[in-house]
Symmetry: C2
Subunit: 317 residues, 2 copies
Amino acid sequence: MVKRSETPARLDDAARAGWLYYVAGRTQDEIAAAMGISRQSAQRLVSLAVAERLIKVRLDHPIAACLELGSQLRRKFGLKHVEVVPSDPASSSTTVGIAEAAAAEIERWLKRPEPIVLAIGTGRTLKAAVDQLPAIECPNHRIVSLTGNIAPDGSAAYYNVIFSMADAVKARHYPMPLPVLVTSAEERELLHGQQLVRSTLNMSAQADVTFVGIGELGIDGPLCVDGFLEKDEMMELMRGGAVGEICGWIFDVDGRLIDNPINERVASAPIPSRDASMVIGLAKGKRKFKAIRAAVVGHQINALITDEETAEFLLKN
Amino acid sequence: MVKRSETPARLDDAARAGWLYYVAGRTQDEIAAAMGISRQSAQRLVSLAVAERLIKVRLDHPIAACLELGSQLRRKFGLKHVEVVPSDPASSSTTVGIAEAAAAEIERWLKRPEPIVLAIGTGRTLKAAVDQLPAIECPNHRIVSLTGNIAPDGSAAYYNVIFSMADAVKARHYPMPLPVLVTSAEERELLHGQQLVRSTLNMSAQADVTFVGIGELGIDGPLCVDGFLEKDEMMELMRGGAVGEICGWIFDVDGRLIDNPINERVASAPIPSRDASMVIGLAKGKRKFKAIRAAVVGHQINALITDEETAEFLLKN
DNA sequence: TCGTTTGTTGAGTAATTGCCCATGAGCGAA
DNA sequence: TTCGCTCATGGGCAATTACTCAACAAACGA
């Protein structure tokens, strides 16, 4: 976690230095002279401004290749919305680029004047996206989490994104006061029957837009790494044809939720309607190819933010 | 004028290079390797991306000092909206900073879903602001020029901003097919009576939002430099108490339009209502202090985008 | 076809920036 | 008060970026 809470005065200086550097186009030497500090301090302020995301860079040009891939994907899979960002071949990150694009998309939704319900899933990509959000006030909107916020060991689940979101966005937030996986279908029924949980579930079913990460399976996949499933449970699932998951809901290569005890123990809200609302999946990278493909063909999502490389895979296969 | 119309393919490369540099954070060496070009070429693409404004940087932090100045100004002068950007003490430019802020404000208006009429004045500051606009499509909106587009020598007036705006913004544009200054009040009546001109004038009177520059008088002021007024006419005006102008309408230190033959020859549309609409003035800099002050106290405008230095002057005087 | 012009390229170099480290100030605990 | 710790600072230096220049290539016009 990045160090929180720099003193406001320092952030103020950082903003000023960042402004002079990026907007006014001065050198760090000039900034140092203007602000009466050493060049090194000026450099620190500038990089602090970047680190604290006071400076937002956006690319305002539709890269033709990406647009083209996007519209082909939209056509081929009948998606409502597709955004393709350039690939960075040298980077193995599964978030760079997508996070920025997704943050911009989230921001667009949050800036709508009419009140909306925004549902949010979980995962590293989504976390990275939410971390890119600037401070926004939108008291009219409601933001609801689709997944529980309690990790298997009882601690708060780190990748439960809604809390990160609450840091930046001033809106009503509704976390899901549940574990991610419960011990049995019966327990799930019981928990979902609670008044508080029921109202959150109802709200999520009415989401106008939903952002979810798409997780791959495998012993390196998030479900195992974060301790939700044991290795042998994972192997069992994969033998049963599972290839990916969204909010814990595990699906096969055709994007159908598989019939397996694990899926009966998922306490997440169902993914909101792909007919009546926008469900935007975020994912890229070779390891996720199969999972993304399945989610798209099985209409677990109806919109996608991904990168060129992944887009090309989806078009060819 | 910046060189127009790079080939799309090159802009595409520039966008890609810019993305890799600013968003993905790679060095120019890495970009060069990835794109199969020399490092120098990569550098050129990156700076092309910046020069063509494909890369937009925005500062997402309310600098406390600026906010404070802004709200004080709003209170003191009863303005509807004030934006204060940091001063860059080393730069004598009258546009840096304001242009970016104004472009962002224009963009916000243009992104509104309901159709609006946006009126636009003239001047270097406004030109710089419009040059910062990204490409936007907004077929619902109408953009109307308050000032004529014919310079005294009969050529197209360079600082008639609406044409620059048309380059970036896809909306209906209504230039004012008139000179800026005509030879007499009678000629103005005649020209304003023409059907085409009348409908443009009517539209400007219904503007929802108006952006204007504030010009200072003096033999170095825009009216003289651009050849609209002779030196002696200017001296005469200043002896008569004139301190500034907006769209050619000349006012005194209290912001009242002065009673002078020149003002009877101004062919611009009247500044839209400050009671019913938003009229945003853009200006900063010592030379404009008096003119800005007059425009604000005389309610020629009801909103202001300026810099710290100017804001401090306005508060103290 | 042959200059001429315009624009692109890579090399070299100057300017700028990022990072490491030693220093010392500030502060709490002994 | 002194010790030990943390952290901001500025110097120095390596990495990175921006600029200039000369060579070259494509486009153009005679």
